[in-house]
């Protein structure tokens, strides 16, 4: 904030609170609507987390509901369905990390070698597009392409090869949702890597080439180190979100593949909390997840710092 404002450089500390309030009243007024919305819909629910320690009864509300301490949590820890959702979440997170994470990096590096500006812009605007589709639309398109009556099976039937219905198969569900995520978000994910690539000083390449480094040596010793900071940052974010594998994607496909495959922590609160009216139980599950997530992101950040990278913030 180096912007110098004449009437404000004059030692604002010297101004009285009343004077400053008078001077900034329009600015303060402008922030009021946003602050009110956040207080009501983001901060009020934080107090609503109290329901996790109650046997919440919608008829009497938060104030009169019975306090039960950690009962909901001990019930949670003894619930096989909950652990099932937890295992599913971790498994899906792991599959996504292995299969999804490297793709945007590789694609950004590949796209960066396209010399023609126009071609590059065209490809970028096409691969960003699915990011803006809803999950309903994305899954409808997958259903039409790969589903039982979809384009792929239509082709297979015409060739007499038999059919292959991946959309309803619980065993391959992890691969299905990962490929859906890749289809929808991998293109969007390249944005930040492309920016990091364009920030690499080309003189480094020139010097390396003068020293006799070939294409792959240059990639290994210049491009990848240049991306290192962003890669670590994205990895930290991903680890912090390890327990959030997605919501609508699973909600929409739950009936098709069965709850065994499709239950994850994000949907757990909904199905075992809201849908059954067991609000306290769902809130406890949500709180449990939030706390673990916060620990995860903190730990991942510590790890990033230990490796000498910036992580979420500079140490």
């Amino acid at each position: 904030m180096s912007t110098a404002q004449p009437e404000r450089t004059g030692a604002p500390e010297g101004l009285s609170l009343r004077h400053r309030l008078r001077r900034d009243r329009s600015l303060i007024l402008m922030t009021v609507p946003a602050v009110v919305l956040l207080l009501v819909f983001n901060y009020l629910p934080l107090f609503g987390l109290a329901t996790a320690f109650q046997e919440y009864d919608p008829l009497v509300g938060v104030w009169q509901s019975e306090w039960v301490g950690f009962d909901q949590f001990s019930r949670l820890l003894g619930d096989a369905m909950f652990w099932h959702a937890m295992t599913n979440t971790l498994y899906l997170s792991f599959v996504q990390l292995i299969l999804f994470f490297p793709i945007p990096i590789a694609l950004a590096m590949l796209l960066n070698t396209v010399l023609s500006e126009r071609t590059r812009n065209f490809i970028q605007s096409v691969v960003y597009l699915p990011h803006f589709f809803s999950w309903v639309l994305a899954i409808t398109i997958f259903q039409q392409m790969l589903g039982g009556a979809g384009a792929l099976n239509q082709f297979l039937r015409q060739q007499d090869i038999g059919t292959w219905d991946i959309m309803t198969n619980p065993d391959t569900f992890a691969l299905l949702v990962t490929s859906q995520s890749i289809w929808k978000e991998a293109g969007w994910g390249i944005i930040v890597f492309l920016a990091a690539l364009s920030a690499i000083n080309t003189e480094l390449y020139e010097a390396a080439a003068a020293d006799g480094a070939g294409r792959f040596r240059r990639m290994w010793h210049i491009t990848l180190p240049g991306l290192r900071g962003v890669i670590v940052l994205m990895l930290v974010l991903r680890l912090g979100n390890a327990l959030s594998v997605g919501f609508e994607q699973f909600l929409i496909q739950r009936n098709a593949v069965g709850h065994d495959a499709a239950d994850v922590l994000d949907t757990f609160s909904f199905y075992y909390g809201i849908a059954t009216g067991d609000y306290s139980y769902g809130a406890a599950a949500g709180l449990f997840k939030s706390v673990i997530s916060l620990l995860l992101i903190w730990g991942a950040n510590r790890l990033a710092h230990a490796f000498g990278d910036d992580g979420l913030y500079r140490k």
């Binding site: 904030m1 600015l27 946003a34 009501v40 819909f41 944005i191 929409i252 809201i274």
Partner: protein, 324 residues
């Protein structure tokens, strides 16, 4: 007069220059880079081609099927991959059905009203926080940023919204998610960068903060305004889960996404395959071309807006990522 001429001339010159520069940029290969091998080029082309095809081919098939006659759909055995018999019959049928029309109105309404509310609140807040050393802006900023890390979660939010009487109400789809702190931070980063000379000049002319925001800051940050509006609008257009939470039983109030799910995927065992009553043709599953027309309808508004905003996406996203 000379002035006009000069502008004209430099303009023309700059034009040819950029064209030449563009031509050079297209051909430019850094001197230190060895020319690619044929195999490398082919592999690269195929990978990039596959990237494009994975996005474009499904869209092509969907659009083409929606424009096909029942005969063409039958001949293709389902989805149409090559133009055969083309017709707009599916669209006429779709738009004569009240379910889809209502849903379209609902979707457009939520999107327009929601985006307007979100943008107004976000722009005001971002500008209010962008002037250095104003009273209390640091504490408000902290208040905002905390919400990015800590949230009450699904059930407490649901209880607050229903507690305020939001069940079955339109505002339940708009207000709880109306403010995105990320978007406010992006806008604020841009507003902070507006040249202070410009603002001071306006202030000398007697403009207050509202006037400065409206006449100086907003016109100089059109690109980021467009990107932010796109993000909000897409969020509202795609909203589906909030409908499920707050308006699950009221088919009259379902937006397009919900109809897409219940109607196109009906019979595929997806949720909401309850009797979603599709007017006249409820008895059997609707023709494939009609289903695909609904898919296209949910895509069209996005495809109309996207080209105008697409070129600014990078600036918006990166400012948010770096400064936010």
């Amino acid at each position: 007069m000379t002035n006009v001429l000069t502008i004209g001339r430099t303009g023309g010159k700059r034009d040819t220059e950029t064209r030449a520069a563009r031509r050079r940029a297209r051909a430019a290969r850094p001197p230190w880079e060895e020319p690619p091998t044929t195999a490398g080029q082919a592999a690269k082309g195929m990978t990039l081609g596959a990237m494009l095809a994975v996005v474009l081919v499904p869209l092509w098939i969907v659009v083409l099927t929606s424009f096909s006659t029942p005969g063409a759909v039958n001949r293709a055995g389902g989805l149409v991959i090559w133009p055969d018999g083309l017709t707009t019959e599916a669209y006429r049928q779709m738009l004569s059905d009240s379910t889809v029309l209502t849903a379209l109105t609902v979707s457009l309404g939520i999107t327009v009203v929601g985006t307007a509310v979100s943008m107004a609140v976000s722009i005001l807040c971002a500008y209010g926080l962008s002037r250095p050393r104003s009273l209390g802006h640091r504490s408000v900023l902290v208040l905002l940023i905390v919400t990015m890390f800590v949230s009450g979660g699904l059930i407490p939010t649901f209880l607050v919204v229903t507690g305020l009487g939001g069940y079955g109400q339109w505002w339940a789809l708009i207000l709880p998610g109306a403010v995105s702190v990320f978007n406010i931070l992006v806008l604020r980063a841009f507003y902070s960068d507006t040249s202070s000379e410009l603002i001071d000049a306006a202030r000398m002319d007697g403009a207050g903060e509202w006037r400065i925001l409206w006449s100086v800051v907003l016109p100089t940050s059109r690109a980021v305004t467009a990107v932010t509006a796109l993000f909000y609008a897409v969020g509202y257009w795609n909203s589906f889960f909030n409908v499920m939470l707050y308006l699950p039983t009221d088919a009259e109030k379902w937006p397009l996404q919900y109809v897409l799910l219940t109607y196109v995927n009906r019979g595929n065992g997806l949720p909401g395959s309850v009797n979603a009553g599709f007017g006249s043709i409820q008895a059997q599953t609707a023709p494939l071309s009609l289903q695909m027309a609904v898919v296209v309808l949910t895509l069209v508004p996005l495809l109309l807006v996207y080209p105008f905003v697409q070129k600014h996406l990078r600036t918006g996203v990166l400012t948010g990522a770096i400064k936010g």
